[in-house]
């Protein structure tokens, strides 16, 4: 049958597009895939879209830059270890780089989540999906799986680089084992980051079909609450006058992080992870002593609340996403 295409006169191909040629119709007798495989195909397509694969060069620029930026700390850490064999690694597996990671993910999610969902909303393509053998919720679920995989790649590949680079430089099975026991939980925290940010990003991006508005719909709430949470906890920490020998940070500093996914994820790691991450400076308020530095967990004893908030945000985002696509018109 493929010879039929070649049989069309070139003159016709060049000029008259309206002519219909008798090339025969062939029925499809081959395999038909079921719902799970269709969802898988859509998820993989979404993953590719998130990195601009199969699109033009322009679509690849930002994902590639962000990916390179995300890998940079791992590479620097490995290089530093190589140059100074005495050094330990500079960054941890669980929080990675605590400012860079949220920043890169903020930009990635804000730019790419709209690419996955707002196009189909804007062009009213969804009826074409719903008229196919999948269910209403399969579309958002496939998009979520695809975008979670994209975020996972962005988060976990640098960790993998860090782990491979580090174990290649440490000596002895014990050191390698130690690295691996830290790497494992790091991967799990990374997965928590990926699934929460992907679902929050998609539910916000699916609010509108206009890409620019969708970018704002993702970026503004995430950024504003992040800044607010960070500022609040900093202010609370710096105006904090601890009395006695208590090592807990003020409640406001611990609770401020609950309003933003990034700080919730950091709080989750802070609660479950081992090392205290903040330093509380205690000078007892009379200004004449050198004071005292104290290591503490930022979440204080509110750690479980961060676990709950993580679950609440995740359920709300996924539920919102499913509800969004149940409501969308099939006109």
């Amino acid at each position: 049958m493929s010879s039929d295409a070649a049989g069309v006169p070139p003159a016709v191909l060049a000029g008259r597009t309206g002519v219909i040629h008798d090339i025969g119709y062939r029925q499809y007798g081959g395999q038909r895939l079921g719902r799970p495989q269709i969802v898988r195909a859509l998820a993989l397509d979404s993953l590719r879209t998130a990195f601009g694969l199969g699109r033009g060069v322009k679509a690849k620029i930002f994902p590639a830059l962000l990916f390179a930026l995300m890998c940079l700390p791992a590479v620097v850490s490995i290089a530093a270890m190589a140059l100074n064999p005495g050094n330990g690694q500079l960054i941890s597996y669980d929080t990675y780089q605590s400012t860079l990671r949220p920043l890169v993910l903020l930009v990635f999610v804000a730019l790419q989540a709209p690419n996955l969902v707002s196009g189909d909303l804007r062009s009213h393509t969804l009826p074409l999906y719903f008229a196919r053998p999948i269910s209403r919720s399969d579309y958002p679920i496939a998009k979520l799986i695809g975008f979670t995989m994209a975020c996972l790649a962005l988060i976990e590949v640098p960790l993998l680089i860090l782990w491979v680079g580090t174990i290649s430089q440490v000596h002895g099975a014990r050191a390698v084992w130690h690295q691996t026991t830290e790497f494992g939980p790091g991967l799990l925290y990374g997965a928590a980051w990926a699934v929460l940010l992907a679902s929050v990003g998609l539910v916000l991006a699916s609010a509108t079909g206009k890409r620019v508005f969708a970018i704002c719909a993702v970026a503004i709430p995430l950024f504003v609450t992040w800044v607010l949470a960070t500022v609040l906890s900093h202010v609370a920490l710096h105006t904090f006058q601890p009395v006695g020998s208590g090592a807990e940070p003020p409640a406001l500093a611990s609770l401020a992080g609950l309003i933003n996914p990034f700080t919730v994820l950091n709080g989750l790691t802070d609660w479950l992870g081992s090392a205290p991450k903040i330093t509380i400076f205690r000078n007892f308020g009379n200004g004449d002593g050198p004071g005292q530095l104290h290591q503490a967990h930022l979440v204080g004893h509110f750690g479980p609340l961060y676990g709950v908030m993580f679950a609440v945000m995740l359920v709300a985002a996924i539920g919102g996403l499913l509800a969004r696509y149940r409501k969308v018109g099939i006109a």
């Binding site: 219909i20 040629h21 189909d120 062009s123 719903f130």
Partner: protein, 329 residues
């Protein structure tokens, strides 16, 4: 139809079989006030069927129920032997749907888009590519299929919409206003294409349209609905025999002609800038010709009127009703 024998389990109601579409007392209400479909009972046989009705008559609602995307308020429907309430997946595997409105992304090529939707129809990657290429060729898109859809004309976009409905090798195509937005040439090409798919590809087609002229050209059967109710379901030929009305236009002397025709036993009715004359018998043509010639009037048009929806929607259209209905427009 092969799918008929494997009808899915239905509680009490069971589709009879040989029809591609069956609806029984199908009712769809939105809220308390809007009734889109009202006790619609109809059977659609294999072949090309026109689904005709004015905008808002319930055509699109019916299509959505048939695809299993909307649950009817009451009644039953079956497509290819599958109950729409329970067999949505089977129906959507075997049915291609072309929506009325614009539904194409501007920033991908037709090939990519149709291939992707082929995959969404359950085709493996390689088959999806092959069938996308085939479908686009069938609808007459060649080199331009590698261009972004945003650069296409309306006619080309309509072809892509048809190609995506065709890509999954459906047994039934549901086309919602396929000629929407096309110029007369594009309209004819699209209609030829639909007719060809119906006759040569062996795919049953339901074409929803508000233009009877189009349905007349390509369909074997016709289902007319108005306000969600079945008006007529019949073969095209039996419907087109129903009425014959001639429109006569003269540059001047309309009143004289009207008087003259009335004197000769016809019942002309003024309509826009001409006269509408019901033709009871073939000699009426001669009578009109003679009247115009005797009066020496400049005849500009003498035309067999195409049926309008409003005519069809009256079992026995009279000219007064016709002019009344059209002057409202």
């Amino acid at each position: 139809m092969t799918g008929v024998a494997t009808a899915t389990a239905v509680q009490e109601w069971r589709p009879a079989g040989e029809a591609v579409i069956e609806a029984e007392s199908l009712t769809m209400r939105y809220g308390a006030t809007v009734t889109a479909l009202d006790q619609l009972t109809v059977r659609v046989k294999p072949g090309v069927t026109g689904l005709i009705g004015a905008n808002g008559a319930g055509k699109s609602t019916l299509i959505k129920i048939l695809l299993g995307l909307l649950e009817p308020t009451a009644g039953h429907a079956a497509v290819l032997g599958h109950d729409c309430a329970t067999g949505g997946f089977e129906i959507r595997t075997q049915t291609g749907y072309m929506p009325e409105h614009d539904c194409l992304p501007p920033d991908v090529s037709a090939t990519e888009f149709v291939t992707h939707l082929g995959r969404m129809s359950g085709l493996p990657a390689t088959s999806a590519r092959e069938r996308a290429a085939d479908s686009l060729r069938h609808v007459g898109l060649y080199e331009e299929r590698y261009r972004q859809i945003g650069t296409y004309s309306t006619g080309m976009k309509q072809r892509v919409k048809l190609a995506q409905a065709l890509v999954g090798d459906p047994r039934l195509l549901l086309l919602d206003e396929p000629t929407n937005g096309l110029d007369p040439a594009g309209r004819n090409q699209m209609l030829e294409l639909v007719a060809r798919i119906g006759s040569e590809f062996g795919i049953s087609i339901v074409v929803a349209s508000h233009l009877l002229g189009e349905i007349e050209q390509i369909c074997d059967h016709l289902v007319a609905i108005e306000a969600g109710r079945l008006l007529r379901a019949d073969t095209i030929s039996s419907v087109t025999q129903a009425s014959s009305v001639l429109l006569v236009e003269v540059d001047e002397g309309l009143a004289e002609l009207r008087a003259e025709l009335a004197r000769r036993g016809l019942a002309p009715v003024e309509y826009q800038r001409g006269l509408l004359i019901e033709l009871a018998e073939p000699q009426a043509y001669d009578t009109i010709r003679d009247a115009v010639a005797d009066l020496g009037l400049p005849l500009t048009r003498m035309e067999q009127r195409r049926h309008r929806i409003e005519e069809l929607f009256r079992a026995d259209p009279t000219l007064t009703e016709m002019t009344g209905a059209t002057s409202v427009q």
